[in-house]
Amino acid sequence: MRSYGKGAKGSNMRILEGQGVTKYFGGLAAVSNVDFHIDQGEIVGLIGPNGAGKTTLFNLISGTFPLSSGEIRFKGQKLSGLKPHQICRTGIARTFQETKVFSNMSVLQNVMVGAFFGSLTHVSGAAAAREASQALEFVELSAMSTDPINDLTLVNQKRVEVARALTTRPELLLLDELMAGLTPTEVSEAMELVRKIRNNGITVVMVEHVMKAIMGISSRVMVLHHGEKIAEGTCNEISRNRTVIDIYLGEETHAGS
């Protein structure tokens, strides 16, 4: 299997760091003064109720819109002022909560776009096709590579997004609700996929509502609520955190069970 990551495994280098990250939409703070860090080789879960600011944080990291204040650094380099395509080329790839595929193309072509444009190195047509095929094999969609993308189910379109993100040769991958709407078996498969991605040397941050998945594979969990970071820690710590249980998991529930 081809290795996708560029970075060394297992080091404790901070690959991504945010300080006082804030985003206002009008008068509303969607993300408010959030400090965070992601270490290389981690799988970090980002959880919180709907409207907590999780996707907004992803959008800020990937450059969809600028920060109102604060700063985000990727491998020590400030990301502010960079456009989404530049951030992608520095090594941060993402998928979308509401699937965004190139509706007028085949599955393979969708993934090839990432290979062509996603990194700073020039990629030939043949190499792009090869990389795209490998990525589709990686997400186990090889059989559908010539299908029009619109013929795929939403679940499979999300996997195409993952393959497309992988061909941009990221060091950091932001997965926005990869597992929404999956059956329990599919959730297990998706968890295995995320582990496989991490084992290829790619750091993963995942927004997820499926607790089983978060608790099963994350090395660390961050909790957002009303745009603020209210807790952070290992899965065990989070599942016993009083505030998190009250606000997010509900008083009766115990996460991870």
Binding site: S62, T64, F116, F117
Partner: protein, 329 residues
């Protein structure tokens, strides 16, 4: 092998063959077509350039531009201003360069706009240029339009044939290039395109400007036969509409679509104008509505439809003989 498979495997040679036949027909047309019909063909080729270059950008990215008339008019005006000073081929180059530059400026201002706003702004440019030039001419320079020097009509005819071929080839090669893939990504989902490393703003401006080159040069070639032009004639919004309607009419799923659309449009326009004079626009409107209602993929959309129908008929005919085939195998 059934008909559908035959079409699928030879699709490319069929397309190439179609274009070669069409070019041969067009090139020899002045020899037997007569002056009037050759003039009609000249107009049809002009429309083809507008439609193909429009589809090159708008059909692929989904940004509906109504700016063709602005670049077309620029070509006409560049000719008017430079015809006494420069040879014709140099004027063509100049018009291409100026249209490209104008499109870059317009793109920088407008291509951040999405959907209907871009469309309206691009249309505004046509109206603005027509009125601004009209004002400068009438109120500042005190003149009324321009007369064009005579250029040999046969030379112009073959020039526009050459430009049509160049436009189609450019559309073909851009479509197959990385640039074409980037444009299709923008048309497919612009936000996703940005996030997989495509500099969407740059790609949009570049391709918008490339498509403007062909429209501007076309303006140069059609100018001399006009004999006279002013801002109202040169920047008539009709040329924008023709580009859009011909491309949609012919269908944008295939490179041949806008060419066929432009040819049918140009032919019908002339025929209906001769036959009905006043009512031709009404008749033409009805035809366009019918095509868009029943052939949403345009005239080229007929090909796969007929192919499938034909395949079905043949399959039905074969069913009778199938028993024997099974016995043989």
């Amino acid at each position: 092998m059934n008909i559908a498979d035959l079409f699928a495997t030879h699709r490319r040679s069929l397309s190439v063959g179609f274009f070669i036949l069409l070019i041969a027909f067009v090139l020899t047309f002045p020899l037997y077509g007569g002056i009037y019909r050759t003039d009609v063909l000249f107009t049809m080729l002009t429309y083809a350039i507008l439609a193909v270059s429009w589809a090159m950008f708008s059909g692929t990215t989904g940004y509906m531009s109504l700016a063709p008339a602005a670049f077309f008019g620029t070509g006409i005006y560049v000719t008017a201003l430079l015809q006494d000073y420069l040879p014709f081929p140099v004027i063509m180059v100049a018009a291409g360069v100026i249209s490209f530059a104008l499109a870059v400026v317009l793109g920088l201002v407008t291509l951040r706009l999405k959907g209907i706003y871009f469309t309206i702004f691009s249309f505004g440019l046509v109206v603005f240029m027509g009125n601004a030039i009209n004002y400068v001419e009438a109120d500042v320079l005190g003149r009324h339009g321009w007369y064009f020097n005579v250029v040999n009509q046969t030379v112009l005819f073959y020039t526009i044939v050459g430009l049509t071929v160049a436009t189609v080839l450019a559309a073909y090669f851009i479509g197959r290039s990385r640039l074409g893939l980037a444009m299709r990504s923008i048309g497919g989902n612009e936000e996703a395109a940005e996030h997989v490393g495509i500099d969407t703003t740059r790609i949009k401006i570049l391709t918008f400007a490339i498509s403007a080159i062909f429209m501007g040069v076309a303006g140069v070639i059609v100018a001399p036969p006009l004999s006279y032009s002013n801002a109202g004639i040169a920047f008539s919004p009709v040329y924008s509409f023709i580009a859009v309607v011909a491309a949609v009419f012919g269908g944008m799923g295939h490179l041949a679509g806008p060419v066929i659309g432009a040819f049918v449009y140009g032919f019908l326009e002339e025929m209906l104008r001769v036959e009905f004079l006043i009512y031709f626009q009404l008749g033409f409107g009805i035809i366009i509505v019918l095509v868009i209602l029943f052939l949403p993929s345009g005239i080229v959309g007929l090909v796969p439809m007929l192919r499938d129908k034909l395949g079905e008929v043949i399959a039905k005919l074969r069913k009778g003989g199938e028993g024997e085939q099974h016995a043989n195998t």
